[in-house]
Symmetry: C2
Subunit: 309 residues, 2 copies
Amino acid sequence: MPARLQGVLAPVVTPFRPDLAPDAERFARHCRWLLDRGVGLAVFGTNSEANSLSAGERVDLLDALIAAGIPAARMMPGTGTCALTDTVRLTAHAVQAGCAGVLMLPSFYYKGVSDEGLYRSYAEVIERVGDARLRVYLYHIPPVSQVPLSLPLIERLLRAYPQAIAGVKDSSGDWSNTKAMLNAFAGQGFDVFAGSETFLLANLRHGGRGCISATANVNPAAIHALFEHWRDDDADARQQRLDAVRGVFQRRPMIAAMKAAIAHFGGDPAWATVRPPLTPLGAAETGALLGELAASGFAMDGLREVAAA
Amino acid sequence: MPARLQGVLAPVVTPFRPDLAPDAERFARHCRWLLDRGVGLAVFGTNSEANSLSAGERVDLLDALIAAGIPAARMMPGTGTCALTDTVRLTAHAVQAGCAGVLMLPSFYYKGVSDEGLYRSYAEVIERVGDARLRVYLYHIPPVSQVPLSLPLIERLLRAYPQAIAGVKDSSGDWSNTKAMLNAFAGQGFDVFAGSETFLLANLRHGGRGCISATANVNPAAIHALFEHWRDDDADARQQRLDAVRGVFQRRPMIAAMKAAIAHFGGDPAWATVRPPLTPLGAAETGALLGELAASGFAMDGLREVAAA
């Protein structure tokens, strides 16, 4: 049984080959670079373009990571899809692979569904997977999924499945919601992860366990350092520096911007590729991004070595 | 090459067994009942709970329908998913099976994506399928997908793929949008289907080709009769009667309500099952629905015979 996850995790960006097939080798190298900087692997998240992959592609990629020696105990793959059967398949596969947990979107095609329907949806997955090792982190990201997870829904799931329901990633961007989740459930072994490092310090100060943040793909060491030093006197100053870096990425399409930065700092242009419906940054946008990053003194260390490995 | 689709199509509701597996036999029987009433088969639509099925389940169901003798030439399966590779797989399979067209949602997980990204997404599918028989009906349903298809996007797709881009289903519920599509593209062999029978008469009067409507699952003959008689003097009266029936279903969760009606009129309670995240109508809700339908003189003829076949 892997240890309970905590700290900083990255929804690992997924590299693609020119034919848009996932590139398992580059993926494993980026995972290793992240692990070396203290960051865990929330592979197949929103920022991983995971919903642009088929279930079979995800299964193959996870198998490839594990075959490459990336430890499943540091992984929280995203497994929530629209389709009950895909979610069950991906979740069962992740558990059998030894992953420490799974990050589960609600079934997100239908909008305005009832809490009863969402409850049945999660319950059905948990029952079908039927594995005592399953640890589900609920994924609340209403700006993208458009299907929010309410506090009463979480309470009901936690009551029915106190072992399987392990926590939440709150990507609402609304600290008052994160705070409400902490107040309601953090005392019951329910681990609240902020959806970005913006709320990492606040979350830790109120009993949360860390964050799962896009920008951990590009700024892992500094974000992890705040997790390590959040009780230190300089924690607020660290938080401010993280916010400044995040701001540069957040001003453009995040996924394309992070991939452009990885391509640049790793000397590996292939990284800039995204799958439609996303588009890569253009040359001018990339120039502006890199200019802003340079002006702020930001760099990604060690990526070239990883790319050459 | 199947004839161009026109008239009324139903996004065929998908029956499930008690274990929530799709029930191919009941599905084929309902398709036959619809065909006998003049209605074509937009299987795997929103009202089919298609996004609650895996790609493999859809492939198997389509194969089962064809094996059961349901003509592919009357089918427009939904094939648009979040994932490029699933959409390509489903679309290629539908074309190879001889389907007259496919109804294609945009990749719908990411919100606020650019027209450029949506263009690349559709173009990539069309190029990869690479089959001159492909006829794509774009699926504009912003209330559910939250990813609208703009007129400039349609124009660009139509210019690049004048043969493959065959038309649109407009489920915006906004007649002025349907009218704008008709004005812009109906003269170029682009077939506009209204997203419900509410706009069937208006659509036909302005050069549209028909409608693809949930309620065609339960009221097929009368909706088809309006398509057949839309130039007759009683067309407006027919439209009003259709609207009244639709209103009864639309006042509750549509999919569950239609399945409850099929279960009742077919004497086949198994039909009431839905997949989470949807929930079936409760007993009181079902009673209210059936009471309203009875008061309006509505019935579904021939379903019992189909169920017994």
